[in-house]
């Protein structure tokens, strides 16, 4: 806004950001590399001896390499559900935005409901059981899709409104089928908002704790958030391992963040807020 740089304000902001945001992360990192005894003190101090490798190995090996299994499971879960969600949501948002019909009110209402209504957990388990999908990875993936699709539809719909209809018409005149029109012409244009959806939903699904807890119980099926939960009771006093685990499961979101930091803002600006 104003062209002048405000040194005083900058100083305060940076200092505050360090205290409020960086210290907790530094605490996680420092505790994660401490010895068990020192970590138990819970203080903010420099590690007396660094046990990075040992703590890392301990956490990874714990409970029969449960963390590795959990990482594989979480990856499958996140990639599959987000991929399905993006494509299905874009299809719905596209038709919903383009075609005016009396059903639109109902569909908009249903989409909004998905955002507002808390999922009914036990009945969902009941449905999954009837379908033979309870305690299965496909079941959980579809649950994540069902619970997350509303938000994705809203983001896509707002963005599609900014794509000129002339584009569709040109493609239709060229004889493109609806399928081709959407996947070849429209979908590629959704790139920036798709990135926002992918980042937001991947983080949500990857960090989801409640749904795996309810719908995919069992150590064989653990996702990374559940390992944290399991370890927090198992490692009651082994804070070093607990924090090493927190640190490890923060890495994938961190990578995502480093890659897409700038794009997230631009995706948001490009349409989401206008909805």
């Amino acid at each position: 806004m104003t062209g002048r740089r405000n040194y005083w304000l900058s100083g305060v902001a940076i200092l505050l950001s360090i205290v409020v945001f960086l210290v907790p992360f530094a605490f996680i990192v420092l505790t994660a590399v401490k010895s068990r005894q020192q970590a138990a003190l819970l203080d903010f101090s420099w590690p007396e001896n660094f046990q990075i490798v040992r703590n890392f190995v301990d956490v990874v090996e714990a409970r029969d390499y449960m963390l590795i299994i959990a990482f594989i499971n979480s990856t499958i879960l996140t990639v599959s559900s987000v991929a399905i969600m993006v494509v299905l949501a874009a299809m719905v948002a596209y038709v919903l935005q383009r075609r005016k019909s009396r059903w639109n009110v109902l569909i908009n209402f249903l989409v909004l409901s998905g955002l507002i209504i808390p999922p009914a957990v036990v009945p969902t388990i009941w449905v999954l059981q009837k379908l033979g999908l309870f305690r299965t990875m496909p079941g959980l993936i579809l649950v994540e899709v069902a619970f997350g699709i509303s938000f994705a539809i809203l983001l896509f719909r707002a963005f599609i409104a900014t794509i000129p209809r002339e584009l569709d018409e040109a493609a239709i005149i060229d004889g493109a089928s609806p399928f081709r029109l959407f996947f070849r012409v429209i979908f590629p244009l959704l790139r920036s908002v798709a990135i926002t959806v992918i980042v937001v939903q991947s983080v949500t699904v990857f960090n989801d704790f409640v749904n795996p807890l309810y719908f995919l119980p069992g150590d064989q099926n653990a996702t990374v958030q559940l390992t944290l939960y399991n370890f927090s009771s198992q490692f009651t006093s082994q804070y070093n391992l607990l924090f090493m685990n927190i640190l490890l499961i923060t890495i994938p979101p961190l990578i995502m963040f480093l890659f897409f930091n700038r794009r997230i803002v631009s995706g948001m600006t490009s349409g989401a807020i206008k909805g």
């Binding site: 507002i116 009914a120 009945p123 899709v145 704790f209």
Partner: protein, 291 residues
């Protein structure tokens, strides 16, 4: 002939809805409707009996529920209020010519991406009344820190603060997006008119960032009303029942195997969220049209 063909092959075919509708219908709508029935039954893992409204009567006699209901509202209002205020202020700060802007944006946004359970466990340790970093630091400057999570009057607010810590980045991001989409000419015109920073904040940023405010309020209220992970990771509704919210009461009934009761809680939560969000949404978006 051609018109019939054109109508049959609309460029926006209904079957595009189908796959999404199938997943959403089966795994979201069916359970939601089934929950209305199951909330009227006594339902254990092995069988269910119809018992009418007994579950609801029971649920309202649950000691935690009445306080859980107010706690849910307090939690939602505190978190979304703080997210709006802090998010807007941070966004203004982070769109100004400040040193280290990129760093500050990243550092504010990053907690959004970290696992809620991880954040909860970390802050439980930091907020330990005897040995936690927060109270140790306060003690160093001569202040006796409270029992953040162990004092019945404070526990809920402490969790709400952590929720804000974790979620304010998203609110800030939404506001930044709103602010950068305001055309620069407005600010220039204001400067020409001799308006100061404060004036242009109240006259330009605040009104024009209104859609962003709507988004932040709605999203954080929904999140706050349904909030469960963080409360469960930090206090489990304790001490006693003092930080129980509806979602944690529901989970406790589920844990105890009272599925009918738990589902009744779900229906109540559904009603509460709808009763808060729908009028608000309607009100906020209607005002927008008038503007």
């Amino acid at each position: 002939m051609t018109t019939i063909r054109a109508r049959r092959r609309s460029p926006y075919p209904s079957w595009f809805y189908l796959p999404a509708a199938l997943v959403y219908g089966v795994l979201f709508l069916v359970p939601t409707f089934a929950s209305f029935y199951f909330s009227l039954t006594r339902w254990t893992i092995f069988d269910s009996h119809f018992i009418g409204f007994e579950n609801f009567v029971n649920f309202f006699r649950e000691p935690a529920l009445v306080s859980g209901l107010t706690n849910t509202l307090i939690y939602a209002v505190v978190t979304s209020g703080l997210k709006v205020v802090l998010g807007l202020l941070l966004a203004v700060l982070l769109t100004s010519q400040i040193i280290g802007r990129g760093y500050l944006r990243s550092v504010v946004f990053f907690p959004v991406l970290v696992s809620t359970i991880g954040v909860g466990l970390t802050f439980t340790v930091l907020m330990n009344p005897e040995r936690g970093l927060i109270n140790e630091s306060l003690a160093a400057i001569g202040v006796q820190g409270p029992g953040w999570l162990t004092d019945p009057d404070l526990a809920l607010l402490s969790v709400a603060l952590v929720d804000v810590w974790k979620g304010v980045g998203l609110a800030t991001l939404i506001y930044i997006a709103g602010i950068v989409s305001i055309p620069q000419e407005y600010f220039e015109a204001a400067r020409v008119d001799g308006a100061g920073a404060t004036a242009s904040f109240f006259r330009i940023v605040l009104p024009l960032a209104r859609p962003a405010t709507v988004t932040v309020v709605i999203l954080s209220l929904i999140g706050g009303l349904r909030s469960f992970d963080l409360i469960w990771a930090m206090t489990r509704g304790g001490p006693g029942f003092t930080s129980d919210v509806i979602a944690s009461v529901i989970y406790k009934q589920y844990q105890a195997g009272f599925y009918g009761l738990s589902t009744a809680g779900n229906v109540i939560l559904f009603l509460v969220v709808t009763a808060v969000i729908l009028p608000l949404y309607w009100f906020l978006t209607r005002k927008e049209v008038e503007l």
